[in-house]
């Protein structure tokens, strides 16, 4: 009983410290202290998103971030960089970024200064550029085997046939065994069935209006659809990146199309005005 009290007090103090240092209170920065302290479970610190993950967002698993159009790659990369930076807070080690050759043709390349702005240290990245998809798949498999890596990002274009259920399931198992954050960054692809724990669809959205600057660009906003979630429900949100606090925050949109269907369920996410239904719940 006493221990429990002390524990709670400790948590409260940590919370207070975190509030002073605003950065730590923000997105995905705080590993849950109950039970695991290894960073395997992270919080988004956005009530609406944390609500759909029963037991927290599993960092050490296979995730997929995809965008439909080639020009959305910026939005998808930015979201993944923020997500990765959040998940890597507790984990030491390098991150391997494997780039399918098809992505390099028209997609440009990663800009380290831009990644650093999302809190991701570019010096941690190892960029692997194989000559063909087969080699890229082999490289991702080898990287997932390495226990000292903190994360593996596999960037593919479209839906290659040999990157199927079996390949993704293997990655998922390795991620769970070795404690790695493994993500597929799919550029311009369709949604397809695979073993990923979550699948996010990211689209750029007009930025928040900045009242101080006329016609200026405010906080950047992303349209986020959680298309697949093995640990709970799916959802649809608009999030904004706050450079001051260095984290994503919920950006309530001013329109509500329809009441969310899923929020009527008893075990659903807490009702939020801005949660809206979408047609493609998987």
């Amino acid at each position: 009983m006493q221990g429990n009290n002390a524990h709670r007090q400790m948590e409260a103090l940590q919370e207070a410290v975190a509030k002073v240092d605003g950065r730590h209170a923000s997105f995905a920065r705080r590993a849950r202290s109950r039970g695991h302290n290894d960073g395997s479970i992270v919080d988004f610190d956005i009530a609406a998103i944390d609500g759909v993950f029963k037991g927290g967002f599993p960092a050490f698993a296979l995730h997929e971030v995809r965008c439909s159009l080639t020009r959305d790659i910026g939005a998808a990369t930015g979201f993944l960089a923020g997500l990765l930076a959040g998940c890597m807070q507790q984990r030491q080690g390098r991150i391997v970024w494997i780039c399918d050759p098809a992505c390099r043709l028209d997609g440009g390349q990663l800009f380290p200064a831009g990644l650093a702005m999302f809190g991701l240290d570019p010096a941690r990245l190892v960029v692997v550029q194989p000559v063909d998809l087969k080699a890229a798949l082999w490289a991702s498999d080898e990287a997932a085997k390495c226990q000292e890596l903190a994360g593996v990002i596999f960037q593919v274009k479209g839906n290659p046939r040999n990157f199927d259920m079996t390949a993704t399931r293997r990655l998922m198992l390795k991620a769970q065994q070795n404690g790695q954050f493994i993500a597929i960054l799919r550029q311009g692809g369709e949604e397809e069935a695979n073993a990923a724990a979550t699948r996010w669809h990211v689209r750029a959205q007009p930025s928040m209006v900045d009242p101080d600057i006329q016609r200026g660009i405010g906080l950047l906003q992303l349209n986020l659809v959680l298309e697949r979630n093995r640990h709970g429900q799916t959802g649809h949100w608009t999030i904004a990146w706050n450079q001051k606090t260095h984290g994503f925050e919920h950006a309530p949109t001013h329109y509500v199309d329809r009441p969310a269907l899923s929020s009527d369920r008893s075990d659903g996410a807490p009702q939020m005005g801005q949660v809206m239904a979408f047609e493609r719940a998987s």
Partner: protein, 494 residues
């Protein structure tokens, strides 16, 4: 058309070099004639040089004659092997010479060879004498009988000497040096001294000498990949002792496979950290060979396998083993080695910062395997400082995109003059309407690199009506630098 080379049968039939083709055909109507191809000759010669690596690491292409394609140049083609300290491995000088000549003759090459104390003397005896092995110290006396052409002299000088009645080396060896030099220049004396050993002559080997090397000769050639791997393991085992004595590890290794028919295959690997354990060296070569997609032609098998250490480095302290667990960082460098061996080391890279503000030059990608562990720390600090600058009183918005185009792409843009943001632009055949924009952020040219007239860039962050955010710049200041500035797309924001 003239003959540049004649084989033994041709010589018997009375043909000689520099003869016109019509004369030769008149002498011998059934003559087989082939076009002279100096490039192919050079390729063949360097292939033979690669094969000669089996005898000594110091193999030099003979460059004493100009390769101008003349008859003399063809005749001069040859190789110089420095066999100091190597001959006992082949059972003495005589056995070694017989082995070299025998194998080359078996391959269909009419080779002649000689062993002497100096490169110049060996060159002379190989071409103008029947004596093949000149005992040490004896070459000065033996050389005296040889013709002057064996001193590697050019044709005008030979003509001049011939007119004076000087025909053998013995004629000029004892002449007073000053008048010789005054009449013929220093070239003649230099060649004479080099042949006689009065002046040092260095040969320039085609390859650097490996730091360590281990080899194995097979009586029965090996073909299977398993056998090659096992051999690599054995050779690495030999090297292991040397590594331990010197506390070294290899950063770059080379496996040379000498095929029975004379072809030499060379497989190189690089390691991210000094390797010395047998398993890791074998693993590196296994991945490298697997990455070839069966390009390693075994043919009739390899009869000599050699493992060279091209680059070595002092080992890092092995403190990790004290705690019992595996060494920290070993798994990662293993992975880098494995990826680098299969995909090529230049495809496994890391970001390094560069000291410039021009975005596409502000960072570079260097092979991970060539960066030491120490660099990693320095780089990390550099990026983080950059990051802190923006976290503090820096802008509250993202000022740099996450995706950058290596080469900025030109767009058709409509913009306000002189320095307004674009209003509309067409990029990759799509029209974008700008709703909001911020800028400009001016990045001036680096005059010490681009030249003084280089245009400065005005960067704008723009957002279109769909919410896509781009990083664009105008090249050149309107009217001050150019009348018609161009617009470029350089990056995509999140």
């Amino acid at each position: 058309m003239r003959l540049v080379a004649v084989d033994a049968c041709g010589r018997e039939a009375g043909l000689r070099m520099d003869q016109t083709l019509s004369d030769a055909r008149a002498l011998f109507p059934d003559l087989d004639v082939f076009d002279h191809d100096p490039a192919a000759d050079a390729v063949l010669l360097s292939a033979i040089a690669a094969w000669c690596d089996r005898y000594t690491p110091l193999v030099a292409l003979d460059r004493s004659c100009q390769s101008d394609g003349s008859a003399a140049a063809v005749h001069c083609a040859g190789l110089l092997l420095d066999i100091t300290g190597c001959s006992h491995l082949f059972g003495g000088e005589e056995a070694m010479l017989l082995d070299v000549v025998g194998r080359l003759r078996a391959a269909g090459l009419m080779a002649s060879a000689a062993i002497a104390d100096t490169p110049g003397a060996a060159w002379a005896f190989a071409r103008y004498s029947d004596r093949q092995i000149i005992t040490s110290g004896d070459h000065q006396r033996q050389l005296l009988d040889l013709p002057l052409i064996s001193l590697r002299l050019d044709l005008p000088m030979l003509d001049m000497l011939k007119k004076l009645g000087l025909r053998t080396i013995g004629c000029i060896a004892d002449l007073p040096r000053a008048p010789l030099a005054a009449r013929f220049g220093n070239g003649l004396l230099q060649r004479l001294d080099q042949a006689l050993g009065r002046q040092e002559e260095a040969i320039s080997p085609r390859l650097p000498v490996p730091e360590l090397s281990s080899e194995r000769v097979f009586a029965e050639p090996i073909i299977l990949q398993d056998d090659i791997e096992r051999t690599v393991g054995q050779l690495a085992g030999h090297l292991r002792q040397r590594f331990d004595e010197r506390q070294l590890g290899a950063r770059a290794l080379e496996l040379k496979l000498f095929r029975v028919d004379g072809h030499v295959a060379c497989v190189r690997v690089r390691a991210a950290s000094p390797v010395y354990s047998i398993d890791r060296i074998v693993m590196l070569f296994r991945e490298r060979i697997a990455g070839f997609h069966d390009d390693l032609e075994a043919g009739f098998g390899f009869d000599l396998v050699r493992l060279n250490v091209l680059e070595s480095e002092a080992r890092q302290s092995e403190q990790g083993e004290m705690t019992g667990g595996s060494m920290r960082g070993e798994g990662f460098s293993n992975l880098v080695d494995k990826l680098g061996a299969r995909l090529g080391t230049d495809r496994v890279q890391r970001f390094v910062a560069a000291g410039t503000h021009i975005p596409e030059r502000s960072f570079g990608l260097l092979p991970e395997a060539s960066c030491g562990q120490k660099d990693a720390g320095a780089q990390a600090v550099l990026w983080r400082q950059d990051n802190h600058g923006h976290e503090g009183d820096g802008p509250a918005v993202l000022t740099r995109p996450v995706i950058l185009f290596e080469r900025p792409e030109q767009v058709e843009a409509i913009a306000e003059v002189p320095d307004g943001p674009p209003v509309r632009f067409r990029w990759r055949r799509t029209l974008y309407r700008i709703e909001r924009s911020e800028g400009p952020e001016r990045i001036a040219c680096e005059w010490w690199r681009d030249g003084r007239g280089g245009y400065s860039r005005d960067y704008f962050r723009v957002e279109d009506d769909q919410g896509y955010r781009f990083w664009m710049f105008r090249l050149g200041l309107f009217e001050r630098e150019t009348g018609n500035p161009k617009w470029f797309m350089h990056g995509i924001f999140a």
